[in-house]
Subunit: 314 residues, 2 copies
């Protein structure tokens, strides 16, 4: 029987592991199929994780996470490379079904994150993290006074375009329709920005560049081909929350989630199911920043420890 | 007119400054009378800030905050060494009254933190950070398999004593009465721990040690003197929230606070007053950890930026 099962090995899961094991909790296992570190390890530059700063070149996601993983494992956290299939609770005990068998745990922290959806054009994978980004807050500043493109027409796409317009020289917004799904005031604000230009009824065919990164994108607009030379492209075509481990066979969830499938938590990262905590991008209102996920993980780790002390005193 | 006034220069305030200025916001000023860095700079050892890890000796609070301050200022954050006296809102504009005049701002992030209360015995200041701590989560692990003392009789004192009993060989709980203010189930759990020993009707007269740190404490119990040789003492005699900048002349607050004076926020760090955000230990349910304060600061910085974009488009 585990004390605590942590599902996911990104910044949230690792920090939950650090805090719970450093707090003296034994039998804490982090389930992560791949190498621990999370999405951020694919990032070539990070300069907004507080306290870790190198001006030029900025540190990479790998450089950030390497000591982090070491630190998290230092206090007794164990890593199991199994894929978690589902979580259920029977009485006071959670059952974690994995691809290599079932384990029991007294408490669970779900830190499985979310995934930006892909648009599906040629070169999207190749230049991801080398000019193609899904996070303006993270990467916008690297294109200060340069021209960038944004793909998408929803609230996030337009809000991020406005955000980028404060930093970049020019922002092209590429959208496959001539109407936006975003809220009308957001559309108005985007239209008022002089350095935002709309390319409507258009799709991206291809991203191209060299080993240094993205150089431009090929756009098709109503049959016509446009070659847009931009070093940065931000893709906002939706997000998928990695919540499937919380799904029951009947399709409902073991805890409350919102209409986007994000886990509902309070400020202490408690979900609606006692003993189940959520941390990082899988939760509602997640700012999708490494430091925020880490803060969540610390909170969830401390709260899980407290929950176990209270309910299973031994 | 400032875009954003940040009150407080600890991890929360600095991170709010980093995120808002890196997001392209101009005229962002952080008000902090002393050197930026916050309480944590007084800490001699920190090993639970994720990603920044040195095994032996652990890094100091100063070492953690030095690059952090540099990073926060790098994107245009300004530091004003004025003491903020009060904040008020007139129409859409905040007025920040300081000891060197009044400034206006479109949005405000309050990140003034909280202060552990002092017990008032001799040597308490001298050995603070060198054996005397007010945070078991932060410092408990440094006393793994050693004997420590806890001063206090409330919920926090007993919960932290239980936490420490998982890590330390023995935990003495010193309390000035023979009854505890803590919740009955917490008292029961503490009493069940074999390695917790209670020293009741007792007060600490003095903490002593050498330049290496604390060596022991002198306790007076019903007229009798006890010399308790412990390298660690955890003082939990209450917390004071630094909320006075939010107080109006009539004693009420400009935003909702709870019964302890902690600012009520949602997951996005919005307070009940539009344009006012809170981050770090000043808010309700604050886990009082550097990484959590930093996560709050990032969230508040992004939300303030978003608020300004939405309400003052120019």
């Amino acid at each position: 029987m585990l004390n605590l099962a942590i599902i996911g090995g990104g910044p949230a899961g690792l920090t939950a592991g650090l805090y719970s094991t450093r707090g003296g909790l034994k039998d804490v296992v982090m389930f992560e199929v791949g190498m621990p570190g999370g999405q951020i390890t694919q990032s070539s530059e990070i300069e907004n994780y507080p306290g870790v700063f190198r001006e030029d070149p900025p540190i990479t996601g790998m450089e950030l996470m390497e000591p982090w993983v070491k630190q998290a494992m230092h206090f007794g956290l164990k890593h199991q490379m199994s894929e978690v299939i589902s979580i259920s609770k029977e009485g006071d005990i959670f059952k974690i079904k994995t691809d290599s068998g079932e384990v029991e745990a007294r408490a669970v922290i779900v830190a499985t994150g979310s995934k930006p959806k892909k648009a599906g054009f040629k070169g999207e994978d190749e230049f991801f993290g080398k000019g193609i980004s899904t996070c303006a807050t993270c990467d916008g500043f690297f294109y200060k006074d340069k021209e960038v493109a944004v793909l998408g027409g929803g609230d996030t796409a337009l809000e991020e375009a406005i955000y980028l317009s404060n930093i970049c020289k020019k922002v092209y917004v590429i959208h496959r329709r001539d109407k936006f799904r975003a809220a009308p005031p957001t559309i108005e604000r985007a239209k008022k920005r002089e350095n935002i230009e709309f390319i409507l009824n258009a799709t991206i065919k291809e991203a191209y560049g060299n080993e240094m990164g993205l150089e431009g994108i090929i756009i098709e607009q109503e049959g016509k081909i446009i070659d847009l030379k931009v070093p940065g492209l931000f893709v906002f075509v939706g997000t998928e929350v990695n919540n499937k481990v919380l799904k029951k066979e009947d399709g409902s969830f073991i805890c409350d989630v919102n209409e986007n499938g994000e886990v509902i938590v309070d400020l202490k990262m408690h979900t609606s199911l006692k003993g189940l905590f959520a941390a990082g991008d899988v939760r509602v209102d997640a700012p999708k920043q490494v430091v925020c996920a880490a803060g969540d993980g610390a909170t969830a780790g401390m709260e899980a420890l407290h929950y176990i002390q209270e309910h299973f005193d031994d």
